[in-house]
Symmetry: none
Subunit: 415 residues, 2 copies
């Protein structure tokens, strides 16, 4: 019933692996926020017959097409010519477009380079769309009731023209739906199928769609609804999903797990110091990524060498010799040691073998101990994580953050 | 004359603005390095009729189609069913695929969740492609002489399967051209236009193409050549580019700046300790990302609080009071302090204001001091970096690594 929207992005660099196409996502986000949902997206290279073929295909089966790329001044910019060819129009020097290009250079105190005149060669019977941020004007070409918007490929120019010209023209056209609203729950400790199973029994309200994404090792649950009561439906859905997934929901919306931990520790007035071995600064880096981390994080130690563990964390030489640097006892001593050195409420420690070297039969690669020391509550646990060095480090860091989140949550419940 | 290659990526998240499609670029890069050039790329959402329509369209006009996404265990993963529908095959439980999924879970010491059985429901008469890194097997479906490869959407799984299964099968198929070879130089300290200008005067050999990419704050210079003498042309081009860009080339090929630093420090037998304030563990995290970092990295300190700077790094209270925690004097004292505490050859320190809070008129957000202390060579410098918190942290970390690289390079030249 609604209009069918498509995107066409043009450029060799999008197909030969040089850069990823970010314009489709940008267009999808902006149109989506106004209730226009993209049906599909096509990418072709700087090849005139391929551009023509794609334009004809999309004009045959979609109602609105946003085209980006190929409007520049150089020889490999072929979009206007291909559009003229595809829809049987002559390519003519468009005075309005030429005036805009001249104005752009004048605004910069420059003369127009003769090559830029090419950017005013446009198909006949189009509507020029001004480009406030660059030289390439865009245009709207209408064909059999279909609207084809041609925009430059530079993301910031394209985005500004989408907002300034395309959205107002789409509003005139009508045919959008109410925007889809989304709420994301980030889940840790459940597999994707297990998450889906629990949610399938949650009795989510009708009209709420569920989609899943993975940001290793987290699963993102996306609750979506549209229409006038979308907000209420999502509130209800979030409540039911939280009940179903319980303590496995570690963050909601834009917030990351680290951001959630930072907020909870700050609110609880808990100070923290971190001692890292195999994660090598990753936990501190994730926490200090959050503005205001200095409110709770006193210090961190990356103690790769045993001498550092002894000197800064007071890990007994005997513990290191008898139990090894990767052991329950060492993890506990590191957590206690960093807490006492820093004088904080909490001391967190991680020690493990991230590989690829360093594993043994008793302690293979992936063996990781996490310890959390609070005044009377030292706690330690050993894990055996699967995967390569990067996965093991990331999983260790996320698991350690999750320990902090649960501790802060339990603390809050005590009050 | 050659086979026509296309990509189809599947997922609502690629069209609603949630994430940009990076798989097309990844596939384009890998296929391109083997001489297979992508003709076009299509993206559709998790909508069965749309997937069917796209498959039928591509099978009608392309010879090889790489499909990614929609092979997961959840209800919104519809690719296998759509493929069965599009090509009139029955969807059956594939025993080989089921065995692979069971094996994957067994390897992790886990039982298979019953929902994962769905991932073995595949069209009839296909060839199963094993997935060494995840649960979703892929498959090759042949239709009227066209090859359609179905791979999961998770980039690392997709990439591994492309290398392990798809490329060998494409080689059997034949039809590729001579591969384009590529050599990447990573440049730090020059803008993209400046890099291009210097290279334009380098006199690169004919037949060598140059493309640019940006991985903030690095610029990637991509030298490409094909044909039988590609290797020699690239050797010559690399030499000339290195001469033109000189010390601004910080890494070559797959190696990262951190990896280069790790290798150079290890080779030079230099040991290192790092004290971080505004980068909060990012430098240590980048260095420990490299396997074998323990060969040179003795320890790291994330000293957010002044007490940590005094206690562990012996920064004088007077320096902190009079010059401030973000100052030349403090950076120098931190570098000296961590070197002496760790007993290493080098002490590296970074202190700064990453924002968004904490800036003053005299020391605005972006003020960063880097210090490197070697036995008789303390060195310190202040920077004023532009951008938000993430950019300032990343630029600070990369700049500090670049100090290490230049120090190690100068050391090597002394020998």
């Amino acid at each position: 019933m609604g209009d069918r929207f498509a995107v066409l992005t043009i450029g060799d660099e999008l197909l030969n692996g040089e850069i990823a196409d970010t314009n489709t996502a940008l267009i999808g986000r902006i149109l989506g926020s106004c209730g226009y949902l993209l049906r599909d997206s096509l990418t072709v290279g700087d090849v005139e017959p391929d551009i023509e073929e794609a334009l004809l295909y999309l004009a045959s089966c979609r109602d609105v097409v946003i085209v980006s790329g190929g409007l520049g001044p150089t020889e490999d910019d072929l979009t206007a010519r291909a559009a003229a060819g595809a829809f049987g129009r002559r390519l003519v020097l468009n005075d309005e477009a030429l005036g805009l290009i001249r104005d752009h250079f004048q605004g910069l105190g420059l003369d127009m380079h003769p090559r830029n005149e090419k950017q005013a060669l446009l198909p006949q019977k189009i509507r020029v769309l001004p480009n406030a941020r660059g030289t390439a004007p865009g245009f709207l070409l209408q064909h059999n009731g279909k609207d084809l918007f041609f925009l430059p490929g530079v993301p910031e120019e394209m985005e500004a023209m989408l907002q300034a010209s395309v959205l107002p023209l789409l509003r005139e056209r009508g045919g959008g739906s109410l925007p889809m609203q989304e709420r994301v729950l980030k889940v840790f400790g459940l597999s994707e199928p297990k998450t889906e199973e629990l949610l399938s029994r949650a009795g989510l309200p009708e009209g709420v769609q569920v989609a899943f994404g993975v940001d290793f090792p987290l699963v993102a649950v996306k609750l979506r609804a549209s229409g006038k009561s979308a907000e209420e439906s999502l509130d209800r859905a979030e409540l039911l999903a939280r009940r179903a997934l319980d303590e496995f929901v570690v963050a909601v919306g834009e917030e990351t797990l680290a951001g959630n931990v930072a907020r909870m520790l700050t609110n609880a007035g808990l100070s923290l110091a971190v001692a890292e071995s195999c994660t090598g600064g990753l936990i501190c880096s994730m926490l200090t990524d959050i503005p205001g981390a200095s409110a709770f994080l006193e210090r961190g130690a990356v103690t790769y060498a045993n001498s550092a563990k002894q000197q800064w964390l007071q890990v007994p030489a005997q513990t290191l010799a008898e139990q090894g640097a990767v052991s329950e006892a060492t993890a506990l001593a590191m957590a206690r040691g960093i807490r006492l050195a820093a004088g904080t409420d909490l001391g967190l420690a991680v020690t493990g073998i991230a590989g690829p070297e360093g594993g043994t039969a008793a302690k293979p690669v992936g063996t990781v101990f996490i310890a959390l020391d609070a005044e009377d509550q030292p706690k330690v646990k050993g894990y055996r994580f699967a995967g390569g060095r990067e996965k093991i480090r990331r999983l260790s860091a996320i698991m350690a953050l999750e320990w902090l989140r649960r501790f802060a949550a339990s603390r809050r419940a005590d009050i």
